[in-house]
Amino acid sequence: MSESILDAKNVTMNFGGLRALNDVSMTIRQGEIVALIGPNGAGKTTFFNCVTGVYPPSAGTISITPPGKSPEVINNLLPHVVTEKGLARTFQNIRLFQNMTVLENVMIGRHARLKAGILGAILRDGSTREEEQKVIHDSYEILKKIELEKYVNELAKNLPYGAQRLLEIARALATEPFLLLLDEPAAGMNPKETGHLDDLIVRIRDTEKVSIFLIEHDMSLVMRVSERIYVVDYGQLIAEGTPAEIKRNPVVIKAYLGEEVNA
């Protein structure tokens, strides 16, 4: 078994009097595709937000172990620092830079991996020019991998819905993450697009050497791509296992259907 890259221990998140997450622990190991499922409002996105630094958890520790590096706690880091450390995410309600081109969206993803400062921008010295050329080239290569290169100069807001979701993934990949967190990547996609997404997720994991942690409601997608599944309900972790185990788990079935099912 490969080593763990993300360790969340006893994570609790309170909003005022509301407990959105209660003592949740999860682990992602290198090279895995793991799904996080649960009914609406179960706390899935809240968990992602805690991990990516949108808000610090009320209790518990979240630590990461980037491949080849030593573990570190990321509880109180700001989102951009978390991204620098190698975690990247997409958003369930698409948050692209609408009035920028597709290429520019991906170029922003490279931000943390570039160096140029104010002086470099103004003087445009050799190394800055080289860096700029490279970021354009690299971003285009990423678009090719996600098969979005035909939209390269389009404004993000003019893309079809499915393509916007893919662009979110491309943008996140541009940050060179070791763990990619996808928040409902298939939401709003048609079956054909979803099928295509299946392949893409697996391909990204294999060729880019990233692990993938995804929230998804489309169960057929989840069952096809994920190796392990965590299930949350009302902020509690209620089950963990392989797709086959989860399918048979009565607690999960109850959470989804609201009653005991006699199988």
């Binding site: 996105t45 937000n49 949108v54 958003f91 309600n93």
Partner: protein
């Protein structure tokens, strides 16, 4: 400490606060519904004051008693300001409903220039004295000049307007529609609320209240010019933001906080820095409460 002086500053602060509140309410209501900083709102207040001045001067010649002239001038001013607010919305804001917010702001600034210069050209650029209409109330003599009759009228009218506004928003159909639209425009549209009507009514009510403020303050200060709307507008906007823009109780609270701060600041520190106190309190409050005193902090759903 001189208690009398303190009390006097308090009364003067409450007077300012009342006027700011009447203007700030219009700002905040419009903002709550269309998220527009209606830069020209102060101009509506100025137009109300001018209309009242004109009506009052004409009526004064008929020898009508002052308080009756005051009442009629007030009503006409309210009607006209409401009409201007309504028309302004139709021309300068309605066509920009779906435009970037900054475009609407610039349009509002253009409208403000236009109205200022319209009054400047049609009337005068000088200060004109506003007729004394409110008689001296006898019962105030016992207070040793602490409270003027104009101030009494200001408090009374402001209180009545606030109560009416609260009733309107809480209990009438249009008030419910306004609250619904402020919460979620799309949903309001889906449940059959006529958004255009709600917006128009909001402008009309806001403008009417500004006119009340304009007439009251003009009687208090005794002179007006075409530029009074601009300064009052900025102050009222500050008050609205201080309280949390979009929040109706916030606008009232913000106005009184602002009025009292200015009054005590000028009274105890220095009258040269009157406006500085207003802005310092604003900056301090917003740094510690970024959405104002009563504004809901808008947690974005991510």
């Amino acid at each position: 400490m001189d208690l009398n002086y303190l009390l006097q500053l308090f009364i003067s602060g409450m007077t300012r606060g009342s006027i700011y509140a009447l203007i700030a309410l219009g700002y905040t209501m419009v903002y709550g519904i269309v998220q527009l900083i209606n830069f020209a709102h102060g101009e509506i207040y100025m137009i109300g004051a001018f209309t009242a001045l004109i009506v009052a001067t004409v009526l004064n010649m008929t020898g009508m008693p002052g308080i009756a002239v005051f009442a009629i001038a007030m009503v006409v001013a309210v009607v006209y300001s409401a009409a201007y607010g309504f028309t302004m919305e139709k021309i300068a804001y309605k066509p920009l409903r779906n435009a970037p917010r900054l475009s609407a702001l610039i349009s509002a600034i253009g409208m403000s220039y236009f109205l200022q210069n319209y009054v400047l050209l049609a009337q005068t650029s000088d200060f004109v004295s506003f007729p004394r209409l409110i008689p001296k109330f006898r019962f105030l003599e016992g207070l040793g000049g602490m409270l003027s009759s104009t101030q009494v009228i200001i408090f009374l009218v402001t209180a009545v307007v606030m109560v009416l506004l609260t009733l309107l928003i809480k209990f009438t159909k249009i008030g419910k529609a306004m609250r619904a639209t402020a919460q979620d425009k799309t949903m309001a549209l889906l449940v059959g609320i006529n958004i255009n009507q709600v917006i128009a009514v909001t402008f009309v009510i806001g403008s009417a209240m500004a006119a009340v403020g304009g007439v009251l303050i003009s009687s208090h200060v005794g002179q007006i010019n075409f530029y009074i709307g601009f300064i009052a507008g900025i102050k009222a906007f500050v008050a609205a933001v201080l309280g949390g823009i979009g929040s109706i109780p916030g606008a009232v609270l913000g106005s009184f906080v602002l009025g009292l701060t200015e009054s005590f600041g000028t009274g105890y520190i220095s009258s040269d820095y009157e406006d500085v106190f207003a802005f310092i309190i604003l900056v301090l409050i917003l740094i510690f409460r970024p959405s104002g005193l009563l504004g809901k902090s808008q947690k974005e759903k991510i």
